[in-house]
Every structure is written in structure tokens, then in C-alpha cells.
Amino acid sequence: MQQHASPAYRPLGVSAGITASSISKSYGTFVALDDVSFVCRPGTVTGFLGPNGAGKTTTLRILVGLTRPTRGTALVGGHAYPRIPNPGLHVGVLLDASAQHAGRTGREVLMIGARTMGLDSRRVDEMLDVVGLSPPESRRRVRDYSLGMRQRLGIAHALLGDPAILILDEPANGLDPAGIHWMRELLRSFADRGGTVLLSSHLLNEVELVADEIILIGRGRILAQGSKADLLRMSGAFVQAAEPASLERALGRAGIEIASSNGGVRVDVEPAVIGRIAAAESLALIELRSDGVGLEEMFLNLTATTQREGVSP
């Protein structure tokens, strides 16, 4: 049940964004990702939303070449990530804020990144400043960092090379509300300067706060993608008429597409719209009800079922 809300799913070709084309990944018989396709455009923040275990992290790992897809291709900035020379200068990546040597200081973690990319230590201090880690904090070992501090350190690491694209896995995890607000401002201004941001989250309100575009993933499949506004408004209706053929003609004249028909028909507009059409065309309806699967409802259903199944991340 792919629901592509209209304007966001324009094919854009290859841009300095991110393009995932029909990515599938199987582990033996387990299908982790099934035909995942999406585009992240420059100037936007895209939220990759899904419950734990939905395949978000696997997708992000495939984007940066840490995991090989079974099928499909991933392009970052128009290139296969492993072919980007000194990729830290083009793509900022944060996959797991806790994947740092616990015995290193925060500053040293950034120094290693800076040295690899060929940057000097001034850049490290600038980025520590940007993410709000004070000099004394930066000299503490990562083992003594709270999750929020690790996230800030990870974001600083991703920003080190002044990249055009950011790929962040659960960056808001562990941040307090003020921290989430700060991150929103940071990513917003990054996108406003033409940068592309793809961030994942398992929390709808987090994504609502930060993202312009939303990709909803569940059990390895993309369930919906589009602008935040469209997806949150997304609704539909189920309608059954005494004379189905007349109804379909009327809907056709009104330019309403029939999503599916099974006894009655399912359409992607609100019931009130159908009601007005039926009245205008003098159609006898047997049934008219809301059949909207909005983003929130879809997400809640998804979360509820996956939680029942006890799928771990």
C-alpha cells in the first residue's frame, strides 16, 4: 500500500541529494528491506520515520557503503558513496553516537576525524562550539558522556568536513526538548543553505518538529512518502453506490482517482467531497465512511504491531 502524496514524489533524477533506487536486503530468508526507493533533495530535511527494526539503520548503512544491498543502488550526491574521495568533506555521517572508543576524550574523537580529513585543530574547536560542548566537557572521556552529549559530539563529527549532505541516524535520541529545538535550528539553517539532510527517527513528533519531507518505513517497506504537510493531511473515504458504474463515472468527471474497488471504492479524498459529488449527481449511496489512513494512524498501527511482535532494533 504505497501512498505517494502528490507533489513530493516528482522524479528528480540524480541531484546533489540522496537517491535510493529499489534497494532490497535479505539475510537468509529474512527480508530486511524490500524495494526501498526514495529521493532526498537539496534544501530539505527529510525524516526517515519508522518503528525500531523497520530497516532505517540498514538503509542508512547501505547509503554509506557499510552494508551491501542484495539488490538496488544508492547514490549520495550522485555518486556511490565508496567512490567519493575523502568522503568526510562531502557527506557528514552519524550512524551511532555510542560507537566511539569510550576511553577517548570528546575532543580527541574529533581530532582523529579532522586528521583523517586533513583539517586542522581549529575546525575541531569551532565544531565543539557549534554543538555547545564546552572545553572542559570536550576533555572528558566519552565513557562519561550522557547520550545527549554523545549525540552532540556525533553531530560535531558529521559537520567537521563542512559537508553538503548529512546522514544522521536517530540524532535526536537522548536530546532534551531544548536540544531537539537546537538541532532543528541547526539542520534548518543547513538545509536553507542548500544542504541535504536525511535523518531517521522512531518518534513521529520528533520528525514532525524537524523534517520537511517524511518517508515512512515499516517492516522493510516504504509505506508513504511526501511532504510533512501532505502526509499529515492524508485521508481517504470508502464509498459504495447503488449504481457503481454511475459513481465511477461521476468520480472520473470530478478527477478523483479510484485507489481500489472492492464492492465499493476507496478514494484518497475526504468523505465530505464524495458526499457533495453524490448530491450534485443525485447518486444513491449505500455506504460512505471515512477510510483515511493518515500518517499518524499508519504510524501507530505500525508501532503497535511491531511492538507486539517484539522486533528488536
Binding site: Q100, R193, G195
Partner: protein
């Protein structure tokens, strides 16, 4: 942050150069020394060799107080600590999960492995230099009249070869196993167990010298010219204990999904 052009068609990589090997090696050296465990391991390697050399001189009878004898004493603690250094150089990336960052900054994993091999060789050289310097000092103070006999460039080269062999053995074990504790355990148990089997099992006693790397390498410390067959033993045992784990390790690291 600058130079972000809206709607740029794709990343412009014309000015981009891949990370030079020299920089990758420097980063690897740094990563070994910037944690408490790593720093103490490096200090321990230098300190323990020195302490063992001094203790040897104090306990040895006079005829044994020579530079070459001292070098073989020093190689005992080195044989235990250098492989651990080699192992940690690789495995800490996996146990601490920093491989995630390392391989996103240099996606060509073979280059990362190569930089670790070069770093290991440099650490080995460092250990050789420190041991030699300390050994010269200790011998100058405690050595007997013939302390410097049989000391030449060949002996020093053989000592260096032994140290490099030791650290690289550790590195390839780390590469093949990718877990610090398991790799350290395997490193000390597997070759010794093999050696033990070859001594107990008559049928393969003939091939034992071609399998037992510790015996084959030990000859490097004997103050005499090695025979062609001994060099052959050295080569074959190294192919077995460095070549094979290296091949396994490379296959694993280049293919493994980094989590």
C-alpha cells in the same frame, strides 16, 4: 560552513583527493596512543624490556653478560606484548565499534587495513630501536669483556625481523578474529597447541619444523649463521601463521557488514 550551492546537480569531486596513505598511517599511530590502555601498552613494552634486561644482567653469570644474550632476554616480554599491540590495532575498531566511523571516512577498507599494517611495522621498529638503545646502555654498564662479540648488522636485522614477525602475527590474528579477547587467547593458544601436537605425534614429527613458528623464529636469536633449511622453515611457518590468517582476515573485513 560555506560553498553550498542550492540545486547543485551533483557533488563536484574534481578537486577531491582521496586521503593520502601517510595521513591514514599517522591516524592509526595516534589511535593506538590516545587511549589509556594503548598508552600503557606502549609504555609497558618499552619499560618491561628494559627491566627484564637489567634483571638478566644482575642474575646472569659473567659469561652470559653479552649484548646478544640480552636481546634474547628482552624478546621474551616483547613476544607477549607486541602481538597484543598488533591485535588491538585491529580489534579495538570492532569491539569499540569505531570501525563504523573509520570506514565511513575511508570507505576503501583495504587502505585502512594497509595503513594498520604499516602502523604495526612502525610500532615494531620503534620497539626494536628502544630495545637496542636500552640494550646498549645496559650492556655498557653490566657487560663482560666479550659483550660486543658477534654483534653486527645481521644480528640486529634478525632481531628486528623477529619483532616485526611477532607484531604482524598479532595483527593478522586480530584481523581474522575481530575480537580482542578471543584474538589474544587464540594467538597464545593455537600456535603453541600446534607445536605441542607436533612433538607428541611421531607421524608428523618430520613436518613439525615447517609448522612450529615459535621454534622456527627462535633460531633468529641464536648467535650463528642460519642454514638455508632454517630460512625455509621460517618462510613456510610465516606463510602458514601470517599468510593464512591475513587471507581469512582480509576476506572477512572487506566483506563484513559494519554495525
Amino acid at each position: 560552513m560555506s560553498a553550498l550551492v542550492a540545486e547543485a546537480p551533483s557533488l563536484d569531486l574534481t578537486g577531491s583527493r582521496r586521503v593520502p596513505m601517510r595521513r591514514l598511517v599517522l591516524v592509526e599511530l595516534r589511535k593506538m596512543a590516545d587511549t589509556r590502555a594503548g598508552r600503557w601498552l606502549l609504555i609497558g613494552i618499552a619499560a618491561l624490556a628494559t627491566v627484564v634486561m637489567i634483571l638478566s644482567m644482575l642474575t646472569f653469570d659473567d659469561p652470559e653478560r653479552t649484548f646478544t644474550r640480552l636481546m634474547s632476554s628482552a624478546s621474551i616480554p616483547q613476544a607477549a606484548l607486541l602481538p597484543v599491540l598488533g591485535i588491538l590495532l585491529v580489534t579495538s575498531e570492532w569491539t569499540q565499534r569505531t570501525a563504523l566511523v573509520t570506514f565511513t571516512l575511508e570507505p576503501v577498507r583495504l587502505r585502512v587495513v594497509a595503513s594498520k599494517v604499516v602502523a604495526a611495522i612502525l610500532f615494531g621498529l620503534g620497539a626494536v630501536v628502544i630495545t637496542l638503545v636500552m640494550g646498549v646502555g645496559v650492556t655498557a654498564i653490566f657487560g663482560n669483556e666479550v659483550a660486543w662479540d658477534n654483534v653486527g648488522i645481521v644480528e640486529i636485522a634478525k632481531f628486528a625481523l623477529l619483532q616485526e614477525s611477532t607484531i604482524l602475527q598479532g595483527l593478522v590474528f586480530g584481523l581474522a578474529i575481530l575480537n580482542s579477547a578471543a584474538a589474544i587467547a587464540a594467538f597464545f593458544i593455537v600456535p603453541t597447541a600446534f607445536g605441542l601436537v607436533t612433538t607428541m605425534w611421531d607421524a608428523i614429527a618430520d613436518v613439525a619444523p615447517w609448522i612450529n613458528i615459535n621454534a622456527a623464529s627462535g633460531v633468529l636469536l641464536e648467535p650463528r649463521t642460519m642454514t638455508g633449511e632454517e630460512w625455509a622453515h621460517l618462510g613456510v611457518t610465516h606463510l602458514l601463521w601470517i599468510g593464512v590468517p591475513l587471507a581469512i582476515g582480509l576476506t572477512r573485513v572487506l566483506r563484513k557488514e559494519v554495525k
